[in-house]
């Protein structure tokens, strides 16, 4: 692996990684020759064109850029794109059913009036989705805790909590009759 030689820094285009970055996003493969310091949020928005990923602060404070990486909610502004290689990335676009139907959480956010300007919504839904994948039936405290890294400037948190709760309690019904 000749990237070990520092000399290469001088003779190759320094801003480019020699190998393309290959990411699995919503089950689709994207590849790009890109800078080493490109963040996952930049890759998602600019390279993959997935503009459902919002960025607010770019420093982990607002949660607007939340996506799932291997089912766990993370701030995509605080992961370098190359760190996400080989992982399953899910953005808000990836929650839609094959026929374009909204996911239960997406629908619940609409039904419960949990969307106002909508800027925080994709991140909020993915943080909640991550919670439900880990704890299918969370209590209020767990929901608040899971969403504590997501800021909503428009609404009180109440409708958001209600929306998440409504989906959580659906999973309460026994799967096997």
């Amino acid at each position: 692996m000749n990237f070990l030689k520092q000399d290469n820094l001088l003779i190759t285009e320094p801003a480019l990684k020699q190998e393309p970055i290959v990411l699995q996003i919503n089950g689709v493969e994207y590849r790009d020759y890109t800078t080493a310091t490109k963040t996952l949020s930049q890759f998602l928005r600019e390279t993959a064109g997935l503009t459902g990923v919002k960025t607010g602060c770019n420093e982990g404070e607002c949660g607007a850029c939340t996506v799932l990486v291997d089912n766990k909610p993370v701030n995509s502004c605080l992961i370098l794109a190359f760190q996400a290689e080989g992982r399953q990335i899910i953005t808000i676009e990836g929650l839609l059913g094959a026929d374009g139907t909204l996911s239960p959480l997406q629908q619940a956010f609409l039904d419960y009036g949990a969307v106002q300007c909508g800027y925080c919504t994709p991140g909020m839904i993915l943080a909640a989705e991550g919670l439900l994948r880990e704890i299918p039936n969370p209590d209020d405290r767990e929901i608040r805790r899971a969403l504590a890294g997501n800021i909503c400037r428009c609404s009180g948190f109440l409708n958001i909590i209600k929306a998440v709760k409504s989906v959580a309690s659906q999973t309460d019904t026994p799967v096997v009759a």
Binding site: F3, L4, Q6, N8, L9, P14, A15, K17, T35, A36, T37, K38, T39, Q42, N58, E59, G60, G63, T66, K72, P73, V74, N75, C77, L78, I79, L80, F82, Q83, E85, G86, A127, G130, L131, R145, A146, L147, A148, G149, N150
Partner: protein, 300 residues
Amino acid sequence: MTGIARTASPETIGETSAIVAGFTGSIAYIAGGTDLIIALEQGFRPDMIVDISRMEALNFVEINFKHVRIGAATPVSALTKLNELHKGIAALSQAAEQFGSAQIRNRATLGGNIASAKPAGDLLPVLMCLDCHIEVLCRDGSTKKLALDEVVTDSGTTSLDNGDLITAINLPLQLGDNPISAFGKIGRRRELTIARLNLTVLADYQTETSLARDIRIVAGAIGPVPLRLKCVEQELRGRKVDQTFADDFLGALTGAVDAAIPGRYSQTYKRQAVMGLGLDVLQSLFGREFSLPACLRGMT
């Protein structure tokens, strides 16, 4: 963001060693990236960025009756249940519980907290109180084991050389027969100028006699590095845990905090915040209620 760095994603410690040993430029490891990416945004440019976040050999928790050993790239979210393994390290799981947000906990690591060496690093006072040993793999392939205060030497400064990799953190479970610990914090991360403080207490507690046979207390975020409060420890060591113990603990704690940062906690409401924190940590540690010292009750 424009970049000049190369990247590497080694899967094993052996591969990492080979990569860093054969490279002459500057190296930055990236684990959770929750500090490093902010530094990159601010213009920091290492020659190579080495991702250690996917290395299995750095992501584990091992426990036996003598010690707990935690991989340096273990995410904070994996530490929140450690108290179920051993009461002696409850402080670490409590610090992990209160750390950042769910998204941050899923990425941030112990090794990154140490290497960043920030005064606000919540895990540092806990690791100091629990008397940790930090295992380091040097760039030349040699290894060393260091105490926390040997690694974190000043605000944002460590004794590590460029390319040194923290591989694991060892926590001995050795304070007497029944070590128990607790952690608490006040103040928000971004509020650099006003009251911020965290507190870790480790005690060897004899339940039948209510004796705190031994005690270690470390405060964080009040100076460049965590501060062991030896004078508070001295006052309490070997004593029976009752309301007088709590009164003296809170008195000595406010005295020590005042001495460490003269003036900052002199206002009554801040002093009360320190007392409130002390009280919370004591209650969590001993699993029972205490009240504020009589002289302060009802003060606002």
